[in-house]
């Protein structure tokens, strides 16, 4: 399955024959609004119903969480002020969404969205889904990619690959890979902008360069309209008004894609009323500087690819915001090419992701994607400068090895600070984290030769390994990320989500219960074989498993299945503990493997 985890909407698609199809929910909708509402009555609502709650409980309804992922609270300070929900600084300056007494990490909120996408997909497919390719903006850095991976894990998904959105879209356009040529993919979503230049040849999709802005999208167009509406209203920071004006602005923008002017009557009760009219020309004048920023990125990407604009064969549009007429007109004027609109710009990314998922599952070896790392990686050297290790637009996987030594006798540890960005000084780049090499042999200063290999994998995520050359000792590496979750936190949250899955989420559809029941039957049988319970307990558990299996075969209703699951659950509480703790032990062991 391929999942497009968007700022505004999310959706899933699967490979179908030579093509791919998007998965729709019971109402026939493909797009799931990326909105989570933590309702005061204790329910957690995701998607369309959550979006409908924006006006009722604005301070408990979280949208555009993708903008928070993999960033620090300090970086988000300015942006958070315009949001109707509260973003506070948590531990290590990580952003947390404050809902009542509870704080939620952006990863866990993204996980709720992914979980709903998964549930809807399972319903549509009639079978459970575990593996998925999840897309991210090409311009996402290491921290944002890692955070997205964590969110997928928290949602119970095995993330096959973090795939760049424009690359995914290119796949959707040239599915059979027979249309050789050079394509420019212009992807303007709700909150992010990406442009990638690809060469397609013999089924190989090779990204030559990418550029973008993770904080530029259709939301910003809405915001500009919202600011104009606010000018006609009394000044306020009331979350209800902020949400209502934002929603109204989005509506106006959509109208302006097909109409020359749009009007709106907004009645905000005690906060006043307004009648607001805006013409397309006014709207276009307001957003023109933002559109120009995207065109600057386009020109840079073309240059980085070592090409001229006239060497681009095809221009592909992706993302809902490319429906804005000014965007299309300006891009066409710049490239001299009529942009392709054959695939729905909202669906292209998910469709492409599903094709890549199929490739990764080993079903299709005719296609191959070669992507690049969007931003350079470097190490801080003395004096606050950054020495580049891996240059942006390098095809991934890519690696580089550097040798370090010690400065003091018997020093057994070395710390490295790793940065991502193009600027010369550390303070202008993003600190991804500290790598602490431990367990070096005690030797006189300067004698150890520690070869550290920095490898960027096919997800665009950095992996570091180190070895002392003289002794061959593998140094252990402890990673302290400056953004996002530590490995311990992810593990803890995954356990929490297993334990609280039932209470946290919206009441599941029948298929979910069925999936769970099936999993329980299989899981319990496995666990029984491994555990040494007393015979009487084993017998009781076996009986409950048989009962549940019988209900499953008979196609029993949800309530019956649930009751049978609960029965079995109670009996297996002790086994579950065993299995979880052994799973944790195993996970810990793997973490310490080099």
């Amino acid at each position: 399955m391929g999942i497009d985890l968007g700022t505004t909407n999310s959706l899933a698609a699967v490979r179908a024959g030579k093509g791919a199809r998007v998965l729709r929910d019971l109402a026939g909708e493909a797009l799931l609004p990326s909105v989570v509402c933590f309702h005061p009555d204790g329910r957690t609502i995701v998607g369309r119903d959550a979006k409908a709650m924006r006006l009722q409980v604005p301070d408990r309804t979280v949208f555009s969480v993708k903008r928070l992922v993999g960033r620090s609270a300090r970086e988000l300070e300015a942006e958070a002020k315009g949001l109707p929900y509260r973003v506070v600084a948590g531990e290590r300056d990580l952003p947390r969404v404050q809902i009542g007494d509870h704080q939620h990490s952006p990863e866990s909120i993204s996980a709720l969205i992914l979980h709903q996408v998964k549930a809807n997909a399972e319903q549509a497919l009639g079978q459970s889904v575990r593996e998925a390719v999840v897309t991210v903006p090409a311009w996402f850095d290491d921290a944002q990619r890692q955070a997205t991976k964590d969110a997928a894990a928290l949602a119970g998904l095995d993330c096959l690959r973090i795939l760049n959105e424009p690359t995914a879209a290119a796949l959707a356009y040239g599915i059979d890979g027979t249309k050789d040529g050079t394509a420019l993919v212009y992807d303007l979503g709700g909150g992010t902008f990406d442009v990638s230049i690809l060469r397609i040849e013999d089924g190989v999709f090779r990204v030559l360069s990418t550029a973008g802005d993770t904080h530029l999208g259709g939301d910003d167009f809405d915001e500009l309209l919202a600011q104009r509406i606010h000018k006609t209203l009394p000044k306020t920071s009331d979350p209800y008004v902020l949400q209502a004006v934002r929603a109204a602005a989005e509506g106006l923008k959509i109208q302006l894609s097909s109409a020359e002017s749009a009007a709106l009557d907004l009645d905000l009760g005690s906060h006043g009323t307004t009648r607001f009219t805006v013409t397309r020309a006014e709207f276009e004048a307001a957003i023109a500087p933002l559109v120009q920023r995207t065109l600057d990125c386009v020109q840079r990407a073309v240059k980085d690819a070592g090409l001229r604009l006239d060497e681009i064969d095809d221009v592909v549009l992706v993302g809902g915001s490319t429906r804005v007429p000014l965007v299309r007109a300006r891009l066409q004027a710049l490239t001299g090419k009529v942009p392709h609109t054959g695939v729905d710009p909202d669906l292209a990314v998910a469709l492409g992701a599903s094709i890549q998922a199929d490739v990764l599952a080993g079903n299709d070896r005719s296609l191959l994607l070669l992507d690049v790392i969007p931003l350079s990686l470097g190490l801080e050297t003395l004096g606050g400068a950054v020495q580049k290790l891996i240059l942006r637009n390098s095809t991934i996987p890519t690696s580089v090895t550097e040798e370090f030594s010690t400065g003091v006798d018997n020093q057994t540890a070395v710390d490295l600070a790793i940065y991502q960005g193009e600027r010369e000084l550390a303070k202008d780049c993003r600190l991804l984290g500290h790598f602490k090499l431990r367990g070096l042999p005690a030797l006189p200063a300067g004698l150890p030769r520690i070869a550290v290999t920095f490898l960027v994998d096919a997800d665009g995520v950095l992996r570091v390994t180190a070895r002392e050359q003289r002794t061959g000792v593998q140094a252990s590496i402890q990673i302290v990320p400056s953004f996002g979750l530590t490995r311990d936190e992810v593990r803890r949250m995954m356990l929490d989500s297993i334990e609280h899955a039932q209470t946290d989420y919206v009441a599941r559809e029948a298929i979910d219960v069925r999936n769970k029941a099936e999993a329980m039957v299989r899981g319990t049988q496995k666990a029984l074989a491994l555990s040494d319970l007393p015979p009487d307990q084993t017998y009781a558990v076996q009986k409950a498993v048989k009962a549940l299996a019988k209900h499953l075969v008979a196609g029993a209703d949800t309530a019956t299945l649930k009751a049978a699951c609960d029965e079995l659950g109670k009996l297996t509480a002790t086994i579950a503990d065993d299995v979880i703790s052994s799973a944790v032990t195993k996970a810990l062991r793997e973490e310490h493997k080099p």
């Binding site: 020495q387 390098s394 095809t395 490898l455 994998d457 096919a458």
Partner: protein, 166 residues
């Protein structure tokens, strides 16, 4: 921090150590190697994610980055044929450096109409550098090739500066 050189790109690609490699042939070789080594193609064999597979794929990508660029290819060739040859030949003739300074000055003062002809001159100088470098390598004079390699940097930098003005 000492850079540990990547494996010799000519060996990774299995091509002769030469500056005269056909660009199209190299590209085909790269695509074929990628199909062989990229973790995505090996994923179904449960080995797609292991470090050895990633490292091999990285080797191929990194070798391609070097071989596709004639200058980086030249650098790799010089270093593999005579390690340290580039470091030993860093001192360039003061006469050449004075010329380089004049060129840089011309770039700094280039305006409007003078930009295009200057760019053409610099591009020609760079092309000549590559021809000369190839000749030196052909004659086995690696020291001269290394000096010419260093000299080309000044032409490249001048071109870059000129492009930034445009």
């Amino acid at each position: 921090m000492i850079h540990v050189p990547a494996p010799d790109p000519f060996t990774v690609f299995g091509v002769p150590r030469s500056l005269d490699l056909d660009a199209r042939t190299l590209e085909r070789r790269y695509l074929a190697l990628s199909r062989e080594c990229h973790p995505d193609q090996l994923r179904s064999q449960e080995t797609g994610d292991c470090l050895a597979v990633l490292a091999r794929a990285a080797e191929v990508n990194d070798a391609w980055r070097i071989l596709r660029d004639p200058w980086q290819r030249a650098k790799a060739l010089l270093e593999s044929a005579s390690p340290g040859v580039l470091d030993r030949n860093k001192k360039l003739d003061p006469g050449f450096l004075a010329e380089a300074l004049e060129l840089a000055e011309e770039v700094a003062f280039a305006r409007g109409d003078t930009i295009a002809p200057l760019r053409a001159r610099l591009q020609q100088a760079l092309d000549e550098d590559l021809v000369a470098l190839r000749d030196h390598v052909g004659r086995g004079d690696l020291d001269a090739a290394a000096r010419r390699f260093h000299a080309s940097h000044y032409h490249k930098k001048a071109l870059q500066d000129l492009d930034q003005k445009a």
